[in-house]
């Protein structure tokens, strides 16, 4: 019985995601690109690097990159603490 309920919920979720993705914009033609056009126009002037993705990563949204490096740092600490404890 448990298997069928799980399969049932997964099918419902599949239909839900399917319809949600269908109502998105067709692939290749994004509807609202104000933010990205601004970045492409002024990316070079404000941050001085040609690769706009790097300027987004390290200047416009630098807090995300900082959070992400702390995620990697926390994972390393977690792995080390787990293995270290075992030696006790």
């Amino acid at each position: 019985m448990k298997e069928k309920t799980k399969a049932g919920t997964l099918l419902v979720l599949f239909a839900f995601l399917f319809v949600a993705v269908l109502s998105l914009h067709p692939f290749g033609r994004p509807t609202d690109t104000r933010m990205d056009d601004y970045l492409i126009q002024n990316g070079q002037l404000e941050t001085g690097c040609n690769n706009i993705v790097t300027s987004v990563l390290f200047d416009y949204r630098a807090l995300d990159t900082l959070g992400e490096t702390t995620v990697l740092f926390a994972a390393t600490c977690g792995i080390f603490a787990a293995f270290l404890g075992r030696k006790r």
Partner: protein, 112 residues
């Protein structure tokens, strides 16, 4: 016309979820999380594509019609986060295997 990358994304995410729910082996569960993560990354990347555009890099850029830079930055961040999640889960799976000698979730009433 149904935009195929979004369909692939839904299939990947659901594949990951169903494998995570039905499978018992810990390593398979970790793989399922990784598959789901790459499904969501594919979704983020395919949001930022403009038909007939190049990468948003101005070094010798062939044309000025460029794809959206922000989804690419988001995907880069979420890929690295997926690495950290999978690495931590593999450590726990290895240590559980070492402690219990088995990777089967059902034996230890792990994920019921």
């Amino acid at each position: 016309m149904i935009s195929t990358p979004f369909m692939a994304v839904v299939v990947l995410v659901l594949f990951g979820l169903s494998a995570m729910v039905f499978k018992r082996n810990l390593i398979k569960i970790v793989m399922a999380v990784h598959v789901m993560g790459s499904g969501v990354n594919l979704f983020l990347i395919s949001l930022g594509y403009r038909a007939g555009s190049t990468a948003p890099i101005f070094t010798n850029a062939p044309k000025l019609e460029m794809a959206l830079p922000v989804p690419q930055a988001l995907t880069l961040t979420s890929i690295v986060i997926n690495i950290a999640v999978v690495a931590l889960m593999l450590t726990f799976a290895a240590l559980i295997y070492e402690h219990y000698g088995t990777l089967d979730a059902r034996k230890r009433r792990l994920l019921e």
